[in-house]
Subunit: 405 residues, 2 copies
């Protein structure tokens, strides 16, 4: 509290506008009575705030959903065609992009494959600018473009969008946020808010806002790719740590007698449950192989593949028990190849989690993502909406101004 | 933001009063100009707020500290004799208590030794009630008694003050918060806010508010007692987790080939750096021995004691590197016997922390507590002041009413 910015009359109005819009964006349509109950403000104040949001087109009032008892009441709804963002999930071998409207609707969804070896930051930038152009060309009129969100498989300074290290892209110290802002400005004469974040952090944000952790306050997202990434939500907010780099769960040492990790330590969690570890244990090396191939081999009766899965299950459980003891989460969400692995080893995983202290583990559940592989992409959209949701009127005024200039 | 309570006019006033009082309590005396700069409010609003706090006696204005350049300006100061709390640190073999005034001054400090075997919850309650009586007898007049804070070496539900498990006290599922509220009410006809928390969580709160982590936003306190406890501050606020039980760093598995822990898992951090582990490795068992004895033996040339210290240093570093990767803290504070151990093994510890990812470790420093063994006690005082600091006028009005009835 002590360092939060001052609360003046004007802050109060902005704060309440922001709260209303965020509620509608995250929770969908609501009656005025719902909003009165949600905010604790009186009916006339809510009316004034709704009118102010409606005047700039961010919300509208219309008949509620069918199936309600009695006469359908007027519902306040976020207008998906009022404000849009373009979201990106930059992966090792493909770029996934979406045009997303206020309220979270995915309006356009695109994938482009690329060669890992030639995917430099400059190539990525060209793809991003070109995809923004084609997506904004399909944006509903009169939508205001309020942000771009980008997920990167690496360590990112979320304040300025600098990619410190993305080992599997081979990127070191890339000022991606600045590059994208400049690229968009030179292509379109304007750049909205640009947010760049770690992919697993975005997975956590999306699964918490709209996915399997929707009603939780404390969530950990663990993504299994070549490496093992993590994103942590504490008391409803993303945990960043001192520099924005918290949640590096893949480099938690769980087996000091284990294999050497590319980070230089021995026995990181990643060296036990990362893709390469599972492939190697199964004797299925090679660039084209995936954890899905190990699972297929095991179900076809390959004992070495089955042993690799069993072993990965033990280590998955040991690491998750640590996270439970440390963070006391309500939900752990397993993405990437862990999503495929978990159903096969859930008994082992829960047996290991049972070693966490009883009070700490009693609320936890382990889940797979409910956003069908798009957790990172949708998390990127959420971060792109953040500026608008924090100060709707101001951001919209500046965006209109920029568009008009 | 979405679930925070509504912001009405009255909320705004309370919020600003609370911010001012918290600033003065945590940061000490400030000029009106400092408070204008801190709050961003205008001078007349700050004047009204200061007057309101002065009217109820919580603050006063007086000459500033000597040594300033120029004419001393009037400083707004928290009044240590306006509101007091009684704080307790319940340890395995002694009870430490303090009477603490608003602003954090320790007015009275007491220690009572007790036998571990006979220290039941009922005995603890009798001690607490009797110490409150003798301390409040020494409270300055007209101080209002606004809270009691208690630290317990165990797993505590901080919402209702129930001790779920305090293994070294032998307490299981003890409703300590309710017991203390009832005990105080029957002894004094009134009980103020009673806060019960885990000892390491309180260490983290105190070192963050007033100690070596004063200007940090992300801090981890690791306490070495019989067990290894932890408290975590994330972005300026204590991390609680789903049930208030986060931060159980002692049961992070770091050595699955290691010794069996009393929690049932194998190779917990506690089985490598806990007191008993270090004593056993040094060949110095026995109830009366402490880590200090191992250190003395090593400095006297005992090679087994030296080897135990070296080994504990390696494991301390491995565990801290994990915490750095997971939480990206600015400060790690090592309390209890780790405070004695750290200066002897700091080279090893930093070498191990160097295995954490570069971006994640670049801001971290490892410190020993600066509150001379009283971190838990002073953290308990902070939690006891929390109700007053959140809503000063309301809490004071209710306390006066209770005293008058």
């Amino acid at each position: 509290m002590a360092t939060r910015s001052a609360a003046t009359q004007d802050d109060l109005r902005r704060h309440n506008l922001a709260r209303l819009l965020r509620r509608l964006h995250e929770g969908g349509a609501a009656s005025r009575s719902d909003l009165v109950a949600f905010t604790g403000l009186n009916r006339s104040t809510v009316g004034v705030l709704v009118s102010e949001l409606a005047d700039v087109g961010l919300v509208y009032e219309g008949a509620g959903a069918a199936g309600q008892v009695g006469r359908p009441s007027l519902m306040v709804q976020p207008s998906a065609s009022s404000a849009v963002v373009v979201a990106f999930d930059l992966r090792v071998e493909r770029t996934v992009a979406a045009l997303v409207g206020l309220g979270g609707d995915v309006l356009v969804h695109k994938e482009q494959r690329h060669k890992r070896s030639s995917y430099t930051p400059e190539t990525a930038l060209r793809n991003i600018v070109s995809l923004v152009g084609s997506m904004m060309g399909k944006a509903p009129s009169p939508a205001t473009w309020v942000g771009v969100g980008i997920g990167v498989p690496g360590i990112v300074d979320h304040v300025d969008g600098r990619v410190r290290l993305a080992p599997n892209l081979g990127w070191v110290d890339v000022p991606l946020g600045d590059m994208v802002r400049e690229g968009l400005t030179s292509a379109f004469g304007f750049a909205p808010a640009v947010a760049v974040n770690n992919d697993a952090d975005l997975g956590a944000i999306a699964e918490h806002a709209r996915g399997v952790g929707k009603h939780s306050r404390n969530l950990i997202y663990v993504s299994g790719e070549v490496g093992i990434g993590g994103g942590v939500i504490i008391d409803g907010r993303p945990m960043t740590g001192a520099g924005g780099y918290g949640g590096e769960v893949g480099h938690m040492v769980v087996n000091p007698q284990g294999a050497m990790c590319r980070c230089g330590a021995k026995g990181c969690w990643e060296t036990e449950i990362g893709r390469d570890a599972i492939l190697a244990a199964a004797g299925l090396g090679g660039d084209q192989m995936e954890v899905a191939d190990v699972i297929a081999a095991a179900s076809g009766g390959n004992p070495k593949a089955q042993a690799a899965i069993d072993e990965a299950g033990e280590w998955l459980g040991i690491g998750l028990a640590n996270l439970v003891n440390l963070f006391n989460p309500e939900v752990i969400v397993l993405g990437g190849h862990l999503r495929l692995l978990f159903p096969l080893v859930s008994g082992t995983v829960y047996r290991r989690i049972h070693y966490a202290l009883p009070a700490v583990r009693e609320q936890v559940r382990v889940e797979v993502p409910s956003l069908s592989g798009d957790s990172t992409l949708l998390g990127a959209a959420e971060t792109a909406f953040e500026a608008l949701l924090s100060d709707p009127i101001d951001v919209l005024a500046r965006a209109h101004h920029a568009a008009a200039s």
